[in-house]
């Protein structure tokens, strides 16, 4: 598939999620971006920090809000070979959360390691 697009360039992409879901559309539309990126056979990383950690909080129920609950899509990412999910430890702690509160398997890393990881990327898209 790589060859279809550009002769096999594989870049390290990171999608950085910093915002809570539902209050704004960024979480949902970043997820749409991530799904599309799967078709391009790039080296895709997802990072959740700051309020972005709430995007993958277990037990989301939007019935009373009228919004679509798009959180099950995070669990479907594996099927698209998107498996590099990183969550920032400090962001979880500030919000009283732990990895057990999250709906997907992630690697919990420190802020310092998150900063290092960002430095290894070719393309960073933050919302």
């Amino acid at each position: 598939m790589e060859d279809d697009f550009d002769g096999g360039t594989v870049k390290k992409f990171m999608f950085v999620n910093r915002k809570a879901p539902y209050g704004t559309i960024y979480a949902l539309e970043v997820l749409e971006m991530v799904l599309i990126s799967a078709a391009f056979d790039q080296d895709v990383h997802l990072a959740f920090l700051d309020d972005g950690v709430l995007q993958i909080k277990k037990g989301q129920d939007t019935k009373d809000l009228g919004h679509k609950n798009f959180s099950p899509t995070y669990r479907a990412l594996e099927g698209y070979d998107i498996e590099k999910l990183f969550v920032e430890q400090e962001s979880l702690e500030e919000r009283g959360l732990t990895a057990a509160d999250l709906m997907v398997d992630v690697e919990v890393i420190s802020r310092a390691d998150m900063a290092k990881l960002m430095g290894e990327m070719d393309v960073i898209l933050t919302a």
Partner: protein, 119 residues
Amino acid sequence: MKFGILVNEGPYNHQASDSAYQFAKAAIEKGHEVYRVFFYYDGVLNATRFSEPPTDDRNVVKNWQKLAEDHKVDLVVCVAAGLRRGIVESSLAPGFRISGLGQLIEAGIQADRLIAFGD
């Protein structure tokens, strides 16, 4: 009691218009009157006739239109804010009307409470 409602942000990108709609619906259900919903700043974008959201999501523009139809709520779009952002008569959805910013101040005077939803 008479409520005036101000909506400051466009549909989908922010939850503001959803919250404003839910507030308006709840107020009417409790027997209050919604004197006017005024759309200002990017709020004017709630009145686009061209929005076609995915069928499995809510339709914000239609929600407002239905509220206006069912309860004769006055949906007013600010003319100046609309001109900047491309909400004019030819892009306006039925159920909304375009008028001046004075309609917001008037709502502040006439309504018992004016409540704003935004970013």
